[in-house]
């Protein structure tokens, strides 16, 4: 009872709307395959796709599998999206040769760690290396730090990827996602 009363008394921040906006934008872009290694920041979007009978959601063991899978999808005429965390970008590097050299579209939506507000030092190397390593491989990178600009950034990235046959990554910054703090969570 006391717990319930306490929970009820906490003012609930309104849920962000951008995950639903990404879902709508990706549906409009004709996405049929979702390849992903989950991240908390993508959880609502993943639930939307899992509830969608038109979309196949494939859980990967490592992110480069998704780069390869979506190349296969494109060869078969299907559009897909790769959902991953910034640490997973590092796993993709050599496999990005495939869409780059074959002029295939690849849409990646990357939730950032190791960036604004980070508490875990082990997230810093890959977080800070995310953009330069993607760009070194020839991926076009669009970072978004304003929740109001998420939908238009993803829409533009999808348009760019599928109409110009380029790999494009949208980086969702920690200002959008909220910086995770396990130390605070552990105290609760």
């Amino acid at each position: 009872m006391a717990e319930a009363a306490k929970a009820g008394s906490v003012a609930q921040a309104p849920l962000p709307t951008w995950p639903d906006e990404i879902y709508r934008v990706l549906k409009n872009a004709g996405i049929r395959q979702v390849a992903m290694v989950p991240d908390a920041g993508h959880s609502r979007l993943i639930r939307s796709f899992e509830a969608d009978p038109e979309t196949r959601v494939v859980t990967l063991t490592t992110e480069e599998e998704g780069v390869a899978m979506l190349a296969g999808a494109w060869l078969g005429g299907a559009r897909g999206v790769l959902l991953l965390q910034s640490s997973g970008v590092g796993n993709c590097i050599n496999m990005l040769s495939l869409p780059v050299i074959c002029h295939m579209p690849l849409l990646m939506i990357v939730t950032m760690r190791g960036d604004w507000g980070e508490f875990n030092p082990w997230q810093i190397p890959m977080g800070q290396g995310t953009r330069p390593s993607l760009e070194a491989m020839g991926v076009i990178v669009n970072k978004v730090d304003d929740p109001d600009l998420v939908a238009s950034t993803v829409q533009g990235a999808a348009h760019l990827a599928f109409n110009t046959w380029k790999p494009v990554a949208v980086l969702l910054g920690q200002r959008v996602l909220g910086a995770k703090n396990f130390k605070e969570l552990a105290r609760k």
Binding site: A68, A73, L75, G76, G77, A78, N94, C102, H103
Partner: protein, 200 residues
């Protein structure tokens, strides 16, 4: 006289049999010798031979099989290529497209780099890994009769199939397909999707 049960198969005999009377079979070839083998059996617009992207062949096959459920997809790759992303067998087993077959030409060697041994030379059982992931039709193939059976399974597409085919570690002349990824991609898409693929 019976055939020696331990005799190793010849890779180009195996591949020629797998793609025999291929009709509209779609073939992904892993980098290195499997690419040259598939090309030696006849370059074809429905082949997507890889010159890189090591570890990606099986997942390309998965994405393609899901995108084209009415077509049969055959991935022909090597033991080294598969081992680089052997975890791929987990999502493939989970998705289980009926129209996907993965045929691993297992010479127990990294053939392009000096014939160094791969883990399969020490007994790593890829077919058992595939079985453990949940691919129900998973086997080690040692005879041409079994290759023919595998060919029929791949062409009929009645369930995700995995085969580890024990082959001779022979080095054969290269037979190369086009190396330009744009040509390979465009001709494959045009063949599978029609001329519309060129316009979007």
């Amino acid at each position: 006289m019976t055939a020696n049960p331990n005799a190793l198969l010849h890779r180009r005999d195996v591949v020629s049999e797998l793609v025999r009377d291929r009709a509209d079979l779609l073939v992904i070839a892993g980098l290195g010798a499997p690419n040259w083998d598939v090309s030696a059996a006849g370059d074809h617009p429905n082949n997507f031979p890889l010159w890189g992207a090591m570890g990606g062949a099986s997942m390309i096959g998965l994405g393609l099989a899901l995108a084209q459920p009415k077509r049969k997809v055959l991935v022909i790759t090597g033991d080294g290529e598969l081992l680089m992303n052997v975890g791929s067998l987990a999502p493939i087993a989970v998705e289980a497209p009926k129209n996907l077959t993965i045929a691993v030409l297992d010479n127990e060697r990294f053939g392009e780099t000096g014939m160094q041994k791969t883990p399969t030379a020490s007994g790593v059982d890829l077919a058992a890994i595939a079985t453990a992931c949940g691919i129900r039709t998973s086997r080690i193939v040692r005879t041409m009769a079994e290759v023919t059976e595998l060919r029929d399974l791949a062409h009929e597409g009645r369930g995700t199939t995995f085969a580890q085919i024990k082959i001779h570690p022979e080095a054969l002349p290269f037979v190369m397909p086009p190396a330009d990824g744009v040509i390979l991609t465009s001709r494959f898409r045009q063949s599978v999707l029609g001329d519309e693929a060129l316009y979007n």
